[in-house]
């Protein structure tokens, strides 16, 4: 491809890590707003129409997506590029499955949208799904980039960054699940 990876010095790497974590912290703020609005309108009410099992399946799929992504990153640390790509692609499929289950929940309208709880349910789960989608796009992009640039164990910051996104998606899925289905 006429391209080659250039090693990143440790100081630059710390800057990248700090900047990305800072960015992800800021992206927690919208969720705080959503949970606050949920509390304001619904307090601790949970609609009996919710399907907690499907919510749990979504979270489980996201946990599996995170685990496979993480194992891909661990493989990269041992210079196993194909392990990284394979782990990320599996993570992508599992993440998409998470969105399919969310789509099924939306499509079947288990929760009536015209209620206070419904408004909150579709908004919070929709925003969570959007962030999951962004995380999956990053995973897809980095799995392609890794193959083109021939990542090495010393030079795989991009894969680490993608996992930061996936971790953030996992956390939002878990907290959203707790707020929508339990608290």
């Amino acid at each position: 491809m006429g391209v080659e990876a250039v090693p990143i010095n440790p100081r630059e790497l710390r800057g990248y890590r700090f900047g990305l974590v800072l960015f992800l912290f800021t992206q927690a703020v919208p969720f705080v707003v959503l949970y606050a609005v949920e509390y304001y309108f619904d307090a601790f009410y949970i609609s009996p129409a919710t399907n907690q099992w499907l919510g749990a399946v979504e979270v489980l799929l996201m946990i599996l997506a995170w685990t496979t992504g993480r194992s891909g990153l661990a493989a990269m640390r041992h210079n196993n590029l194909s392990g990284l790509i394979s782990g990320f692609r599996q993570s992508l499929v599992l993440g998409l499955a998470n969105l399919v289950v969310l789509g099924y929940q939306w499509g079947t309208r288990f929760v009536p949208p015209g209620t206070r709880y419904g408004e909150i349910f579709y908004t919070v789960s929709g925003v969570t799904g959007f962030y999951t989608l962004v995380g999956l796009f990053v995973v897809l992009a980095i799995s392609i980039r890794a193959g083109r640039l021939r990542f090495t164990s010393e030079n795989c910051w991009d894969a680490e960054a993608a996992m930061y996104f996936v971790t953030f998606s996992l956390l939002t899925n878990v907290v959203t699940y707790l707020f929508l289905y339990w608290i």
Partner: protein, 616 residues
């Protein structure tokens, strides 16, 4: 993501076949049409017009993505993200300002150009507003909603595309790396793509009235917003683009300040302006995502429709969420200005900065307290017992704000202050902000607040802080740094004359607004009782003078950039690092390695604060 880790092994890089901005417009149009039509195609309810509220939103997303890709995002961001090298080479000359750039100085100037242009548009709207108010009844605008929309677009552009952008995105991007001795920023693409969200956001807000007049002002107040025509949707979207731009800059500059300081630039030596940008970046990172999500909820109220904030939801909840962001926003605008006073005054006085630590502590405490005062905007909706803490914290925030005055006045004390244009404008700004701040203390007291709520007293107060404080300091900083940006010096006579013109115009206009407010002149109305006409007439004349003065400054600075006399690298004898390099700085900022050995603000010692070791 997509940090700069790819290089090119084969030299096949080219220039774009179409000017990037032109391609941006073309791709934006295509993006809008494609997503708009896709939305219409899946719409289960047939018979809707070609553009609906939902398709306009989704089409707008396509338009903005097309715009960002068109101006260089495709080659500069998307291709590298997927491991393909950027096929473009940076354009030479002025063309580099018209495409995506990763050079922080180019990005800084792009931000300055965008915010200056927006300031001109918002200023023209202000002239229209003042022309309308020269008569007690409608004579310029046809309908009251047109007037209210003009006020809303003016306020939105000024807050989100000028106040938040000029000092942080503009001067911050340009100066911060220079002032810390860095050769670049941590996430150059992030700031680069961030800039191009500004024109997208500004155009969205400017053209929003085409979808119907919106009457909420820059605050998007509910339940008005849920009753307004569709134009309010593009207010939400425009602000989303503008705030996303500022978020990008905040992440980049915060990481750069923490990790790219050169040897010897310790936290104790960090320049005041850099402290200001760091504190503001943290404020941006907390509060901009907050208002973005609030606006998403507002959008859902319109599109689905949900009922979060409309009349059967909770408008008061919206007000709280808005002002939680809204009041820190005021400090996002003003804190860099407070920092700049104490950046410029020691240089103009050639005297050590008084109480440097207190000046820094003041900025940090302003940042921390700014999130505790929001409900003073809502005293009319509250019980007395609820007002007290917000009244208390609002008055308390004047104390750390006063630290900036303390440092500035202590430095000026018994100094031989050089009253060049930047120094003059800083003094003017301090005077203006003092008036704005003192009247803010009045407004923090519930009895006064309830009396003058929604009158021109409030309009005068916040214009004294934003225009009188921030914009005057922005102009001062432009005169201070134009020799660094261009290598040329402005004309002192014209600089001072124009400074005096805007000072007279500003104070003539806005000081009388306090009186207008006390006499019963309400905000948000294009018509008023005839007894208020004489003073309104005078205010408008001074406002036109102010507008002419700002245009004069713009022309003068442009002339300086193009034809001003060449100046030495350090015409002010400043000690901060930007004066250590050539004017304008080279692409790598410094021709060598910077080593800082002393304070930037000590003028009682002859030894320079830093040395530049030539490259080996």
């Amino acid at each position: 993501m997509a940090q700069n880790i790819v290089t090119e092994a084969t030299p096949y890089r080219t220039r774009p076949t179409m000017p990037p901005v032109l391609r941006g417009f073309l791709w934006a149009a295509i993006g809008f049409l494609v997503l708009n039509m896709a939305t219409i195609a899946v719409d289960p309810f047939r018979g809707h017009p070609f553009i609906t509220e939902i398709s306009a939103v989704i089409g707008w997303v396509g338009g903005v993505i097309g715009w960002l890709l068109g101006v260089g995002g495709w080659e500069g961001v998307v291709l590298p993200l997927f491991g393909v090298p950027n096929p473009w080479v940076a354009a030479p000359g002025w063309r580099k300002y018209l495409e995506l750039s990763t050079e922080h100085k180019v990005i800084g100037i792009q931000y300055l150009i965008s915010s200056t242009g927006t300031f001109g548009i918002a200023g023209l709207l202000a002239m229209g507003i003042r022309y309308e108010l020269m008569q007690p009844s409608l004579h310029f605008f046809t309908y009251p909603d047109q007037y209210l929309t003009a006020v809303g677009v003016h306020g939105t552009l000024m807050m989100f595309a000028v106040g938040t952008v000029a000092l942080v995105g503009g001067l911050g991007n340009y100066m911060v790396p220079l002032m810390i001795g860095a050769k670049g920023t941590v996430f150059p693409r992030l700031s680069g793509i961030g800039h191009w969200l500004v024109p997208a956001g500004v155009l969205t807000v400017i053209f929003s009235p085409l979808f119907g007049y919106w009457t909420t002002g820059w605050r998007g107040y509910e339940p008005l917003a849920s009753q307004d025509p569709s134009g309010i949707i593009y207010y939400y979207l425009g602000v989303a683009a503008l705030t996303l731009s500022s978020t990008c800059v905040a992440v980049n500059l915060a990481a750069t300040i923490v990790f790219h300081r050169s040897n010897g630039v310790t936290w104790a030596r960090l320049p005041l302006f850099v402290w200001g940008i760091l504190t503001v970046s943290l404020l941006n990172l907390i509060w901009l995502p907050e208002i973005q999500m609030t606006f998403v909820l507002g959008l859902l109220d319109r599109l689905v429709p949900f009922n979060f904030f409309d009349a059967i939801g909770s408008p008061l909840n919206y007000l709280s969420l808005f002002w939680l962001f809204g009041h820190p926003e005021v400090y996002i605008v003003v804190v860099p200005a407070l920092a700049l006073w104490n950046e410029i005054i020691p240089v103009m006085a050639q005297k050590s900065l008084f109480g440097r630590s207190w000046a820094v502590i003041g900025l940090i405490f302003v940042m921390m307290l700014s999130g505790l005062v929001w409900a003073h905007h809502m005293f009319t909706n509250m019980r007395n017992s609820e007002m007290f803490p917000f009244s208390f914290f609002t008055e308390m925030i004047s104390i750390p704000t006063g630290f900036s005055f303390l440092a500035a006045i202590g430095t000026l004390w018994k100094s031989r202050y050089r009253l060049f244009t930047p120094g003059l404008l800083v003094i003017m700004s301090m005077f203006n902000f003092l008036v704005g701040g003192l009247t803010g203390v009045f407004l923090a007291d519930p009895p006064v607040n309830l009396e003058v709520h929604n009158t021109f007293f409030v309009v005068a107060h916040f214009h004294y802080t934003i225009i009188g404080g921030m914009v005057f300091t922005w102009v001062a900083a432009m005169y201070y740094w134009i020799p660094k940006l261009s290598g040329r010096m402005y004309n002192e006579f014209w600089g001072k004359l124009l400074a005096i013109v805007i000072f007279i115009g500003f104070n003539g206009a806005f000081s009388q607004m306090f009186l207008l407010g006390l006499h019963g002149m309400n905000r948000w109305v294009p018509a008023y009782p005839p007894y208020l006409k004489p003073m309104n007439y005078e205010v408008s004349l001074f406002a036109f003078l102010l507008g002419a003065g700002f245009i004069g400054h713009g022309i003068h600075l442009w002339w300086t950039w193009v034809k001003g006399p060449v100046t030495p690298d350090n015409p002010w004898n400043g000690r901060t690092l930007e004066w250590l390099t050539t004017s304008p700085p080279p692409p790598e900022n410094f021709n060598g390695e910077v080593l800082v050995t002393g304070s930037f603000y000590r003028y009682d010692i002859d030894k320079p604060a830093a040395v530049l070791h030539p490259p080996e």
